[in-house]
C-alpha cells in the first residue's frame, strides 16, 4: 500500500482516498462475503468499513500499518452486520433425512455443503479468525492484532471454529442432514 496515499487521505485529500478505496474495496467485499455468507450484508459491511476508513483515518498513528488497521475496520463492520443478521435469522436446526449417503464422487460437494452449514453456525469472531488466517494467509498472532484480541484468544477461536467445522463434517458422515427453519 502506498503510504503517501494514506497520509494524503489522512489529511482530507478526497482524491487520494478515492484511489485508496478503489485499491482495497474488492478485497474488502470478498472478505465480507466470506465472513458473512450473504451478499447484501457483505455490500453493507464493505460500505460501512470504507466509510469508517475515511472517517477514522486521521486517528491512524502509523500510516504504514494501514492495511492491518483497515482489516480491523472491516471485521468490525462484519460484526455489526452479523449482529443484525443474528437478530433476524430464523432459528435453524439439523434434521436427519432418509436419503442414501452420497457416493465418493459427490463427497467433495457434500463436504462443501456441510462446511457451509458449519461455518454459518460459527459466530462472527470465529468466522473472522478463519477468513483472516486462511484467506489472507496470516499467522494467528497477526490475526489477533487485527481483531484486537490476545494471541491466546485467537488460538482458542481458531481451534473452536475448526472443531465446529469438523463436527459438521463428521455429522455428515454419520447421517445426511438437511437444515430447516423453525
Amino acid at each position: 500500500m502506498d503510504t503517501d496515499l494514506v497520509v494524503r487521505a489522512q489529511h482530507g485529500d478526497r482524491g487520494a482516498f478515492a484511489v485508496l478505496a478503489g485499491e482495497i474495496a474488492d478485497r474488502f467485499l470478498v472478505m465480507a462475503r466470506k465472513i458473512l455468507r450473504d451478499h447484501d450484508l457483505a455490500d453493507d459491511a464493505t460500505q460501512q468499513a470504507l466509510l469508517s476508513v475515511w472517517r477514522d483515518l486521521p486517528q491512524l498513528r502509523e500510516p504504514e500499518r494501514f492495511e492491518a488497521w483497515s482489516y480491523r475496520l472491516l471485521v468490525r463492520a462484519c460484526y455489526a452486520e452479523g449482529r443484525r443478521e443474528r437478530r433476524w435469522a430464523p432459528n435453524l436446526r439439523l434434521l436427519p433425512v432418509d436419503e442414501p449417503v452420497a457416493d465418493d464422487g459427490l463427497r467433495s460437494v457434500d463436504d462443501r455443503d456441510q462446511l457451509e452449514v458449519g461455518f454459518r453456525r460459527l459466530s462472527m469472531d470465529h468466522r473472522a479468525v478463519l477468513v483472516l488466517h486462511f484467506y489472507l494467509d496470516l499467522p494467528l498472532d497477526r490475526v489477533a492484532e487485527i481483531c484486537g484480541i490476545p494471541v491466546g484468544t485467537a488460538h482458542s477461536r481458531y481451534h473452536h471454529a475448526m472443531r465446529g467445522l469438523r463436527a459438521a463434517l463428521d455429522a455428515d458422515a454419520r447421517a445426511p442432514v438437511r437444515e430447516v427453519a423453525q
Binding site: 482530507g12 478526497r14 482516498f17 478515492a18 478505496a21 474495496a25 474488492d26 474488502f28 467485499l29 470478498v30 462475503r33 466470506k34 455490500d43 460500505q47 470504507l50 466509510l51 475515511w54 472517517r55 483515518l57 486521521p58 486517528q59 468490525r76 460484526y79 455489526a80 449482529r83 437478530r87 436446526r93 439439523l94 463436504d111 462443501r112 462446511l115 453456525r121 460459527l122 459466530s123 478463519l130 484467506y135 499467522p139 494467528l140 498472532d141 489477533a144 481483531c147 484486537g148 484480541i149 494471541v151 491466546g152 484468544t153 488460538h155 482458542s156 477461536r157 481451534h159 473452536h160 471454529a161 475448526m162 472443531r163 465446529g164 467445522l165 469438523r166 463436527a167 463434517l169 455429522a171
Partner: protein
C-alpha cells in the same frame, strides 16, 4: 491425530480460498458520494463551549458540567437499553425491571436445575489437565482421585437434567499415581516446555511434578512469537506424546485397579464464574456490572475466580453460588438481555450479550462458567 487434522485444514483452507470475483465499484461510488459531505473524525477541543461564552470555560467547570451531563445520560441510557426500562426509585431493587415469571426457571441451559446438589463441593488439588486437539475433550484429574471430563457431543445416554457437559468419575490413589507417573516418565515434564508440532494437531498437558504444575504445549508457529523459536518435537518426543494422547483419551484402557469408582456421574458445580468482557474492545468489568439491573449487581459478592479459558482479553470473573448463577440468568433474561445460543448440537454453554451503550459497535458479554474443584472457572463454548 495429525493426518485427520491436516486433512481438515486442507479442506477448510481450500474451501475458504475458493476463487470469488467481486466488483465493489458500485459500493465505492456510493462511498465517495457520501465522503463528499462526510467530515473526518479529528481530535479537537469542544468549540461549542468557546463559542457560547466568547471565551474558554474554566476547565474545572467544563469537566464538572460534562460529568453531570454524562451521569444523567448514563442513568437514562443504561436502562433504556433493556425492554424492562429503568427501575422505579420507589420499588425494591430485587424486582426492578425484571419479570422472572416470563422465564422458565427449568430451562436455563448450562446451569443445573434448582434443587440439584453439588456433586462434591470440597476443593481439590489439580494434578493433571489434558486437552488434545483430537478427540475434542478436556479432562481434569485431582489428587483425591476425582476425574472430571468434557467430551464434545458425547452426552451419556443416561445423563440427567443436571448435565452441563461434564461428567465425574473417581480414581483410586494408585490410578492417580499410574497416570501422573505415566506422563512424567516421558521425561518431557521436568519444566514448562513448548514444542512445535509438524502436523496440524495440538496438545496442552499439565501435570503436577513435585511442587508445581508443569505445562507442555505442543503447537504451531502460527500461535505467535514465542512459538517461532520453539524447537520442533523430535520423532521420539512426538511418538511419546501421541502415545500419551492415546492413553489419556481412552479411560477404558486403564487398568481396573486404577479405579475407585468408574461410574460416570453428572458433575454439578457448587459455584460459577461470571465473566464479563467487551467484544471486540475490552471493557472495565465494573462498568458492565453497573449497567445490569440492581438485583443482578446484588448477586456479585466481590469474590473473584481465576479463569484460563474464557478467551477474553482481560476476563474478570466474579464467583457466585450455583443458585445465584441461576438467579442471575433469570434476572438477565427477565430484563430482556439477549441470550446467545449455542450453534452446534453438542455444545452446552450460557452467555448473554447486549450492546455497549457507551461504545457503538461494541458488544458486552456475560458468560457463565462452572468452577472446578481447584477453583478455576472453565468455558466450554466459543471463546
Amino acid at each position: 491425530v495429525s493426518s485427520s487434522d491436516t486433512d481438515l485444514i486442507r479442506v477448510v483452507r481450500s474451501w475458504i480460498r475458493a476463487p470469488e470475483s467481486a466488483s465493489a465499484e458500485r459500493i465505492v461510488d456510493a462511498v465517495l458520494f457520501e465522503v463528499e459531505t462526510e467530515p473526518q473524525a479529528r481530535r479537537r477541543w469542544p468549540s461549542p463551549w468557546v463559542a457560547f461564552t466568547g471565551s474558554p470555560i474554566p476547565l474545572g467547570l467544563a469537566v464538572a458540567a460534562v460529568l453531570v451531563v454524562a451521569l444523567v445520560a448514563v442513568s437514562q441510557v443504561q436502562w433504556t437499553e433493556f425492554p424492562g426500562g429503568p427501575p422505579s426509585s420507589t420499588e425494591p431493587s430485587a424486582t426492578a425491571s425484571t419479570s422472572p415469571a416470563a422465564v422458565d426457571p427449568d430451562d436455563i441451559g448450562g446451569i443445573p436445575p434448582a434443587g440439584t446438589a453439588p456433586t462434591d463441593p470440597t476443593p481439590g488439588e489439580l494434578v493433571m489437565r489434558f486437552e488434545p486437539s483430537t478427540p475434542w475433550m478436556t479432562s481434569w484429574l485431582f489428587a483425591d482421585g476425582r476425574l472430571i471430563t468434557f467430551r464434545y457431543d458425547d452426552r451419556p445416554a443416561d445423563a440427567d437434567d443436571a448435565y452441563i457437559g461434564l461428567i465425574q468419575q473417581r480414581l483410586h490413589p494408585d490410578g492417580v499415581e499410574y497416570l501422573t507417573s505415566r506422563i512424567i516418565s516421558t521425561g518431557l515434564f521436568e519444566s514448562d516446555l513448548a514444542l512445535l508440532h509438524e502436523g496440524a494437531g495440538f496438545l496442552n498437558l499439565d501435570v503436577r511434578n513435585g511442587e508445581r504444575l508443569v505445562h507442555l504445549g505442543w503447537g504451531h508457529r502460527a500461535w505467535g512469537p514465542a512459538w517461532q523459536v520453539a524447537p520442533t518435537a523430535t520423532q521420539a518426543q512426538a511418538q511419546a506424546l501421541f502415545a500419551l494422547i492415546d492413553t489419556l483419551s481412552d479411560p477404558a484402557s486403564w487398568p481396573a485397579s486404577a479405579w475407585a469408582d468408574r461410574t460416570e456421574v453428572t458433575f454439578v458445580p457448587a459455584h460459577y464464574g461470571i465473566c464479563v468482557r467487551g467484544v471486540p474492545d475490552p471493557v472495565d468489568p465494573d462498568r458492565v456490572w453497573e449497567l445490569l439491573p440492581p438485583a443482578a449487581q446484588d448477586l456479585r459478592d466481590g469474590g473473584q475466580v481465576p479463569d484460563q479459558s474464557m478467551g477474553g482479553a482481560d476476563p474478570s470473573c466474579a464467583t457466585v453460588t450455583t443458585n445465584d448463577a441461576r438467579e442471575l440468568a433469570r434476572i438477565l433474561a427477565g430484563a430482556g438481555i439477549e441470550r446467545m445460543l449455542p450453534r452446534f448440537s453438542g455444545e452446552i454453554w450460557l452467555r448473554y450479550a447486549f450492546d455497549d451503550p457507551d461504545r457503538p459497535g461494541n458488544e458486552l458479554w456475560i458468560s457463565f462458567g462452572p468452577v472446578l474443584p481447584h477453583g478455576e472457572a472453565i468455558w466450554l463454548g466459543p471463546g
